[in-house]
């Protein structure tokens, strides 16, 4: 171990590559993991004073959207029973409903959060919210408003990601200052609910978020009850046990971490999207580390041939050489990890804020201290570095002792048996993933594509020595007459291993860039054509900063609302959930649901509505879309909204709605999605490109520094610094071209696989889009870095002499 330490200290330059790679990898992993672990579901702050929450039974379909509700009657009966249990101070049902503040006719705040912003006044106890002014609501049309509502729109605009995302319209309101005036007790407030715009009398303000109306009013507006909160005294566990016995199978008693399941779905979804990015960052970070560490280790082992031979001659067994290299790498990796992990964790809050701003984490997301992320990433860094160095150590341990006497200039064997075995294996694994793509479930396909590309990139990197010789011969052909051309060509051909090491990171960068950008472009083009094809040339009325259209907004157009509700339908033993639109005068099932239930027209099925009520209904018909009579929806899902309506005439302006041509609306939707995708792309490409670019620079710096003697000889043979520079640059560019060519090839193969999968999915031929712009940019970046790194040692040596 002490010898390893001495080596590391003495030859830090040759370990710098490993150090930088592990440092960055660990920093990325620890930062991402810190964010990931910080972003855990959390019970809403509104229930902070309710250590025990009782919810209706879990969805039997496993889909959280199918979570049942209690009817208002069931809920109050259950609450009464729970309230009388020992240790329970109060059992309060919280029937929430949609309400959103209107300012100057515009909906404010986060549209998804607004879906659960209305509460009964009694539920304020669950968060121990107290009146700061005025009195509790007593009658219909009276409201106590929370801190977030009473504040001005200017202050609220900043914390609402959706407002920022909605773009121009929201920012106009946010920028105009006094218009969003503070609301105090005794004034009125304009709000939008499922019915339409309303003016409520503000009777008081409370020190928590939300709108609080009378209990009766809340029960009338809400679609069933989904939670009963218990405030308790004494031992929580006793209350939990007693409540569980009392509730039985008609509900679930949650305490501690189980309460966090009550996080609103919209927030959970935001977290989920963020998590996808973080997971991708972690896996790419780990991949890039292994990739870079293995190529720098291979190079440094080759450069240290003589030294390792000497150790063997002096009496080090192959095992000892291996162990020494592992020890060295462990030391470097630990050192890098111990610095990188805190660095990543320290950077996490910055990234966290950015993610909140973009809508990849919920508002109010804070990064917390995550020791697991730190320790885990250090260990991962160590493990990944050791994995990367394995091949190099195996090779190094076979160095014969007599190599201590030999100059290390000529590569003895660029292709090793391990490369011959692993290369084709990786190629087969990647190919199999690509071929099997159409059989994977949709959400796994992008990961499968990325995985396939990683395998293929590894295969290309492993087999690159074989490909380099013919490639170099072809590329260098035009210059074979000149001295520089000859030197470059011969230098490259005798240093195949060095070229392979330099080409490897370029290969990964270009390959991943082309693949990621190409996949997105290909899918975007395909999706664009797909969506527009369906719609006629008309205008639609769509939500404007709201989660849906209110009944009034629809009625203003003289149209019938098309309320969307979620039903839980049981036929025989099968139960399934699905959306249905309010229309017609009987139950119509869509084909998918019908086949799942095994039911046809005429069968009688049990329908459970959003409010928890049940009804036996005959199936009228099976059609393309599910529907159910409008009045049933109104009765059982009073909070239901209309997602959009197609307009016959020009739209009548109404709050919380706007009209746009169908085509534009579709494009907006695609762009909104594209914005996220672009962001993902930028993050992932930025990570890989930045990472591998460092590797390119580092490898060349290492290689050129080690070749000082060779360049000295060139100078003695009469070459000027300019000529040496030309040779070095030529070699660097050649390596970059080889890497870019191989990377591009791999990416195009993977892209073809992705395209085949998409074609299979939509049943139509699509164009393969190759992102020339980003490819060129990334290649140019690699070339620039390579040139700088290669020229630097030469120039420094030249300056040292003069």
């Amino acid at each position: 171990m002490s010898a390893a330490w001495a080596m590391v200290r003495h030859r830090f330059a040759s370990f710098a590559g490993t150090f930088v790679a592990v440092f960055l990898g660990v920093a990325v992993v620890s930062g991402s993991a810190t964010l990931y672990l910080s972003s855990q579901p959390q019970a809403p702050a509104r229930y902070d004073q309710a250590p025990v929450l009782v919810t209706p039974p879990n969805a039997e379909t496993g889909d959280t959207r199918d979570q049942q509700a209690w009817t208002a009657a069931e809920a109050s009966a259950l609450a009464a029973r729970l309230g009388s249990l020992p240790g329970v101070m109060a059992a309060v049902p919280d029937p929430w409903f949609y309400v959103q503040r209107l300012e100057a006719g515009r909906a404010t705040g986060d549209d998804q959060a607004a879906l659960i912003d209305g509460h009964p006044w009694s539920a304020a106890t669950l968060g121990a919210y107290r009146l700061t002014d005025g009195r509790a609501p007593k009658a219909k049309g009276e409201v106590v408003i929370g801190t977030d509502v009473s504040a001005t729109a200017t202050a609220r605009g900043g914390t609402a990601p959706a407002a920022a995302a909605a773009g121009t319209t929201a920012s106009v309101a946010a920028g105009s200052g006094p218009r969003g005036s503070a609301v105090t007790a005794g004034t009125t407030v304009e709000v939008l609910t499922a019915t339409g715009p309303e003016t409520w009398q503000v009777t008081g303000t409370v020190d928590g978020p939300g709108f609080y109306v009378t209990d009766g009013e809340a029960a009338r507006r809400a679609s069933g009850v989904r939670v009963i909160g218990l405030t308790v005294t004494g031992d929580v566990q006793k209350v939990v046990d007693a409540a569980a016995a009392e509730v039985g199978s008609s509900g679930v008693v949650r305490s501690g971490a189980e309460r966090d399941a009550l996080e609103p779905g919209s927030i959970t979804r935001v977290r989920w999207i963020g998590a996808q990015l973080l997971i991708a960052l972690v896996s790419l970070g780990a991949f890039a580390t292994v990739f870079v560490v293995s190529s720098t280790c291979a190079l440094s082992a080759a450069q240290r041939r003589r030294e390792l031979g000497l150790l063997r001659a002096v009496g080090a067994t192959p095992g000892q050489v291996r162990r020494m290299m592992y020890a060295e790498t462990s030391l470097v990796a630990l050192l890098a990890g111990l610095i990188g992990a805190p660095a990543g964790a320290a950077a996490a809050p910055l990234l966290g804020d950015a993610m909140v701003g973009i809508g990849l984490e919920p508002a109010g997301f804070t990064v917390t201290w995550q020791p697991t992320a730190l320790i885990g990433s250090v260990l991962l860094g160590l493990f990944v570095a050791l994995a990367g160095v394995t091949a190099a150590t195996r090779r190094a341990s076979r160095i014969p002792p007599l190599d201590a006497l030999r100059e290390a200039a000529a590569d003895p064997r660029a292709m090793t048996p391990a490369r011959w075995v692993m290369g084709p294996l990786c190629a087969i694994a990647g190919g199999a993933l690509l071929a099997g793509m159409p059989t994977f479930p949709l959400e796994m396909r992008s990961s499968a594509g990325l995985g396939a590309a990683m395998f293929l990139l590894c295969a290309a990197a492993l087999l690159s020595p074989v490909l380099i010789v013919p490639l170099v011969r072809t590329v260098a052909r035009p210059w074979r007459g000149t001295a520089t051309g000859m030197l470059v060509r011969e230098g490259t051909l005798t240093g195949v291993r060095r070229v392979a090491s330099t080409a490897a990171p370029v290969l990964a960068t270009v390959g991943l860039t082309v693949l990621l950008a190409g996949t997105v472009a290909t899918i975007e083009v395909a999706a664009g054509i797909d969506e527009t094809a369906k719609y006629p040339a008309a205008d639609v009325l769509v939500p404007d900063g709201t989660p849906g259209l209110s009944a009034a907004a629809v009625a203003a157009q003289g149209a019938e609302p098309a309320l969307t509700t979620r039903l839980l339908i049981t036929h025989g033993d099968t139960t399934t959930g699905g959306y249905a639109t309010g229309r017609g005068d009987g139950l119509v099932l869509d084909q998918f649901t019908a086949s799942e239930l095994g039911s046809k027209a005429g069968d009688v099925v049990t329908v459970r509505f959003a409010d928890g009520a049940r009804a036996e209904l005959p199936v009228d018909a099976v059609e393309e879309e599910a529907s159910i009579p409008q009045d049933l929806v109104r009765r059982h899902d009073p909070d239901a909204l209309t997602s959009m309506i197609v307009l016959k005439d020009t739209a009548v302006p109404t709050p919380g709605a706007r009209s746009v041509p169908i085509r534009d609306f579709v494009m907006e939707e695609i762009e909104e999605e594209g914005r996220l995708v672009d962001l993902f792309l930028l993050a992932l490409i930025g990570l890989t490109a930045g990472y591998t670019a460092i590797a390119v620079g580092n490898t060349l710096l290492m290689a050129t520094t080690a070749r000082r003697v060779e360049f000295q000889a060139l100078r003695l043979a009469g070459a000027g610094t300019g000529q040496v520079l030309r040779v070095v640059s030529g070699e660097a560019l050649l390596a970059v071209s080889v890497g870019a060519a191989l990377g591009g090839l791999v990416a195009v193969i993977s892209l073809a696989g992705v395209r085949a999968a998409v074609e299979d999915e939509i049943g139509r031929d699509i164009d393969l889009v190759i992102p020339w712009g980003s490819t060129a940019a990334v290649t140019a970046l690699c070339a620039a870095l390579a040139l700088t790194a290669a020229a630097f040692p030469v120039l420094r040596a030249a300056r040292g002499r003069s």
Binding site: A3, M7, R9, L310, A313, V314, G315, T317, L405
Partner: protein
């Protein structure tokens, strides 16, 4: 020479061929040689005659293609790489012409390296004593880059001797040194033989160096072609060498 002790190293019909087919070079051609304990042998011969090959094979750094090498009574032919390394570590010392030291380690660490590799802790003072013996007191903490060529060679000798090997091989140890440093290195080797009965086999091109040995072995075209006692003096050795070189030059 009569004896009943085991020789430090013995080569029997040792053959080493490089390459195959038309390009095959026979660097050692059925060489028989014994190196008795406590003797100092110089190996001489024209360039390319197989001197280095003889040393490498004798030291177990390289493997024979035919015949046998026996180090301190152990035939090395059947040993695994690991076992051979261990044998080499404990019984054989080696000094190359240059690049003997691990640049990352200090003089003392370099000297202690074989012991440490063997998993032994050097006796307190053993390493310093060894360095003192080669005249490098006070240089323990210096790295190779801070030592002169002659000093580096002396560190290498100290390292080769520290595990008290059965035999020390040196391939032109004075080849890259000036006369004074070379003489110092030679007297060191001589002293090791005289004081500690160390067995030494040294390749040299210098008749003066060869004259410090007990016996001079002449090699040509991979065969042993003659032997002189070192005591005959540098001039006769030089004469013999010149004749040999002339003969090979004519033969080619």
């Amino acid at each position: 020479m009569t004896n009943n002790a085991t020789p430090a190293v013995e080569l029997r019909a040792a053959t080493r061929t490089y390459g195959t087919g038309e390009r095959a070079v026979t660097a050692l051609d059925r060489v028989d040689a014994r190196f008795e304990p406590g003797t100092f042998t110089a190996v001489m011969g024209p360039s390319g005659s197989g001197k280095s090959t003889l040393l490498h094979c004798g030291a177990g750094l390289d493997r024979l293609t035919g015949g046998e090498v026996i180090i301190d009574g152990v035939p090395v032919g059947g040993l695994s790489e690991r076992a051979l390394t261990r044998l080499r570590r404990s019984r054989v010392g080696f000094v190359f012409q240059a690049f003997n030291l691990v640049p990352a380690l200090t003089a003392a660490q370099n000297v202690a390296l074989p012991l440490r590799l063997a998993g032994r802790r050097p006796q307190p003072g053993a390493v310093a004593g060894m360095l003192a013996e080669v005249g490098l007191t006070g240089r323990e903490g210096h790295r190779p880059s801070e030592l002169s060529g002659g000093q580096q060679q002396r560190v290498a000798i100290a390292r080769a001797l520290v595990s008290r090997p059965a035999v020390l091989f040196a391939d032109e140890p004075t080849g890259s040194l000036d006369a004074a440093s070379g003489a110092a290195v030679l007297s060191l080797l001589r002293a090791a033989v005289d004081r500690h009965r160390q067995t030494i086999v040294m390749v040299t091109h210098d008749p003066v160096a060869a004259a410090t040995a007990d016996r001079v072995l002449f090699l040509a075209d991979g065969r042993v072609v003659g032997e002189l006692p070192g005591s005959v003096g540098a001039e006769r050795i030089a004469l013999h060498t010149a004749r040999l070189e002339g003969a090979t030059a004519v033969a080619r």
